[in-house]
Amino acid sequence: MVILEFFLVLIGITALGLLYGGIARKWSARIQRRYGPPFYQNFLDVFKLLGKKNTKSHGVMFALGPVIAFTGITLSLFFLPLGNSRPLLSFEGDIFVLFYLLVIAPLGMALGAGEAANPNATIGIARGLTLMLGYELIFFLSALAVMMKFNTASLWKIVELQGTFPDWNLFPFFLSAFAGLIALQGMMGEKPFDLTVAPHEIASGPMVEYNGKYLGLLQLYHAIAIVVETGLFVNLFLGGGSILTFILKTFFVFMLAVTVDNIMPRFRIGQAVKFYWKYPLIISLLGILVVFIWR
């Protein structure tokens, strides 16, 4: 029975992520004054990729890389409270575990893509892991403010203690929330921080050698990652509620990121890390200061 629940969450969230991706493509097409693909286009892409034949494997780790990425993100999904309902896995301090698990996915991809020995992939990995130094710090600092406020490191407790609309953490911690939003942009790899996969520059970076079913798995990973990353932000700052409001909130946060993505150029890696360690860092530190004043 419990296993069924796990599967249900996994399939539901994957479908949700693919749907978000499709709507985002339509939305960016409309911003660029195009008609855009149908909203179910991402489903078709994944089905097609899963039906394709793999031409060449570059070794065991190459094949394991997408699996590690997918597993990492799936595991972190089970720690995520979907609305007010208790997540499938939850204990005191799970927020640290969640942060840790979020690193596994890019790391798995880095290991797999590194095996392919394609120079574009290597550049992509180097950029991705360097960028991580930027956004991880900021996101953790903004989460730290919330953790200090409620004196707990359990994501579910934070959601519960936070309550619904007027008591959202967003309002007292708007500085932290703003810094977190900037970090989220980098975490999801949207512009101006899409330098990890920069299709026009390094030919989609770490994914350059992946094809067929591996690429399909990576697409699924990406779909879940959208929900997990926006969901983390929603749980920290945008309060609880039913699962429907959770979906609405994540959708809104994601669309915000996509809109910013559409109107921004791309940073170089040096600029991106410098940017993160300058303004968002100051903002998030000020956010922690706010907690001290608040208490």
């Binding site: 693909p37 031409t55 299709p199 030919a203 989609s204």
Partner: protein, 170 residues
């Protein structure tokens, strides 16, 4: 199996091998004016991820070698579209000493777009046609290539002026 084929026909990732002048017709096809993404066709950066290899224009012998290598890196099922007269019979380069005349001798072409140059309308038209062909299972150039590999290899070796040629060896 039907679901896979249907989604294959609806989601075509394209690598445009911009060798000739035809490449200039691609930007309007991709961007707001003609917007080929509404058919699920998006440009891809690497042959590994692509389904369609779009050869835009003439190919010199030197480029053909790279094209064959790119084609063999693509995952099955894969499709080739010859774009412009140059891929059909050499076009305006019909008596040039250094460009190939019939693309079909070296890699299997599923569909040609005639014209010098074809307008974006006809490119879109070709994609729609290709989509129908895939749904019906008629676009089987990749099977043809596999079955007649020796014939294609002999043709390639003839232009590359070697006894035996393999795309994998550097």
């Amino acid at each position: 199996m039907g679901l896979f084929r249907w989604s294959q026909s609806r989601s075509l990732w394209m690598m445009h091998f911009c060798t000739g002048c035809g490449a200039v017709e691609m930007p309007p096809t991709m961007t707001s004016r003609y917007d080929m993404e509404r058919f699920g066709i998006i440009p891809m950066a690497t042959p590994r991820q692509a389904d369609i290899l779009l050869i835009t224009g003439y190919l010199t012998v030197k480029t053909l070698k790279r094209v064959v290598r790119s084609y063999e890196q693509m995952a099955d099922p894969k499709y080739v579209i010859g774009f412009g007269s140059c891929t059909i019979n050499g076009g305006m380069y019909w008596d040039s000493y250094n460009t190939i005349k019939q693309l079909d001798l070296y890699i299997p072409v599923d569909l040609y777009i005639a014209g010098c140059m074809p307008r974006p309308d006809s490119i879109i038209d070709a994609f729609v046609k290709l989509r129908e062909m895939i749904a019906k299972g008629e676009a089987n150039g990749w099977i043809r290539y596999r079955e007649n590999l020796e014939w294609y290899r002999a043709n390639q070796a003839k232009v590359f002026n070697v006894e035996k040629w393999s795309a994998i060896e550097p």
